[in-house]
Symmetry: C2
Subunit: 295 residues, 2 copies
């Protein structure tokens, strides 16, 4: 078993993802000038979660003002299609991503969701919402970074708990897209599969483990936050899964900041898990080659 | 190994789910009178997928006309909240589900999505859309029912292929909610877990199996339909999963009918899989008890 408090364990991080995790707050492009309201935000590929979080303050499409189109990743022409659609209105279309000819470059990265969202919050004149997120992420960072030893570091501890297990993300309904964002981050950094339940999840928890609960990888249910539905999930799952982990609600103001905090915790956890498996936590090389071949 | 062409295998179906699968077309409540347009459809619990499919022809909320609130399952007050919200407008609020005091009773059932959708299509005067679905489902039924032997029955064949494997549903983007609906049906009838990928799934496929692809249950990628993104998914996954299954596009007109066909196929497959595992395919007893305790 590798030791997350030993320096040699970090040699697997050849691309230096730890630095990107540490320096996440404040990273990414900033608006070069004002954008006219009202705003629309539509997202594809890597931009999907930031666009979903943006439902908090903007619809998908606007016919006036500024239409942001978050591209990134494989979109099979859907982002271009959305841009064309938006251009039929009178809005200014602003494309963000790493394809050619974007107005705002956001390089492909497992942590790019923060950077898309940060740009959007600045461009739509919501610096206080961004400040709430950044304050909360900096607080999390102080507990989760590599210099903090296992006995005080919840991300390291969670990584050991998830080793050789498959997480099942149990996320409160008022965090849209968060379970999928955790699943994606856990794959892109931790290089491992995890389960996201469907809507109406309690029926799924009751039935889904009935036929085969002795087989395959042990499941680790990761329950985020508290509340009535989380309590029922816990009651159902505790006799059905291998282990049950409760993640306390982050110290953060507002759903947006809390969602980003949960995601940041799992990003650090995925990082430590990759190290425990001895795999590279970064994914640029793989995805870059894939994009050159297929993109 | 149990034999799906032998009668004794069907003894595990004590609650007679095969009859519900066979007689699905035309089942469920019908409108007793006209409902005034425009229409809004919002869904919770078991009603979630029907409501999502209804985005094809109605928004979530309407302030005039008729507001349908699909309840069902645990909703922790969200359906009641939505009803109250809708009642603030001038629309007539019609509640469907199995809670007390609903206007239209739809009993809890693993196949209830069809019944919610059927009622909605009739209530919103779209009999031809329902007829397209029903024609397609009847065609599927002729290929999938128990009397059709394994060598001619794709659902039986798929059940054997998925035995002791974990499916990963690879669904084209233009079928919203279908992957989750398959996951839920596979749990409620097949009593087994399956994986749904996040948006921007290709990055997930490339990275998610890297650390642990030798461990745990073998993954069976189930690829629905064809197209550019499905071809890339197949190319990425074929070297990474244990087996790869291509489900051809159903003979059906329109996305709604095709979506229901895929779902019906997986419902039959889940039924056969439950029989192969020797578990009860129905789930009424379990869920009924759960609801009495917690609902």
């Amino acid at each position: 078993m590798r030791d997350l408090d030993a320096q040699e364990t970090y040699l697997a991080d050849r691309l230096g993802l730890a630095l990107d995790l540490r320096d996440l707050v404040g990273s990414g492009p900033v608006p070069q000038g004002p954008y006219a309201p009202p705003y629309g935000v539509v997202g594809f590929g890597e931009g999907w979660w930031a666009a979903q979080l943006a439902r908090d303050f903007a619809p998908e499409f606007t016919a006036r003002g500024t239409q942001f189109v978050l591209e990134g990743g494989y979109d099979f022409g859907r982002a271009a299609g959305a841009g064309l659609y938006a251009a039929l209105g009178q809005s200014e279309v602003v494309r963000l991503g790493f394809q050619e000819n974007v107005e705002v470059e956001v390089p492909s990265h497992p942590l790019s969701a923060y950077r898309y969202l940060r740009f959007l919050l600045l461009a739509t004149q919501q610096p206080e919402a961004l400040a709430r997120i950044d304050r909360a992420l900096l607080l999390e960072r102080e507990r989760l970074r590599p210099e903090v030893s296992l006995d005080k570091n919840p991300a390291k501890f969670l990584a050991y708990t998830l080793l050789e297990r498959t997480p099942l993300w149990v996320v409160p309904e008022h965090y849209p897209g968060l379970a999928q964002a955790l699943q994606q981050t856990f794959a892109r950094i931790g290089k491992s599969l995890s389960l996201t339940p469907p809507p109406s999840a309690l029926e799924f928890f009751v039935t889904g483990l009935e036929a085969r609960h002795e087989q395959g990888d042990p499941i680790a249910a990761v329950i985020l936050g508290e509340g009535e539905s989380q309590a029922y999930a816990q009651e159902i799952l505790e006799s059905r899964v291998d282990t049950l982990i409760e993640l306390p609600e982050p110290e953060a103001e507002g759903t947006l900041a809390k969602a980003l905090c949960y995601w940041y915790r799992i990003a650090w956890t995925s990082y430590y898990l990759a190290l425990l498996y001895g795999v590279e936590p970064g994914d640029w090389e793989v995805l870059h080659n894939l994009r050159r071949a297929a993109g």
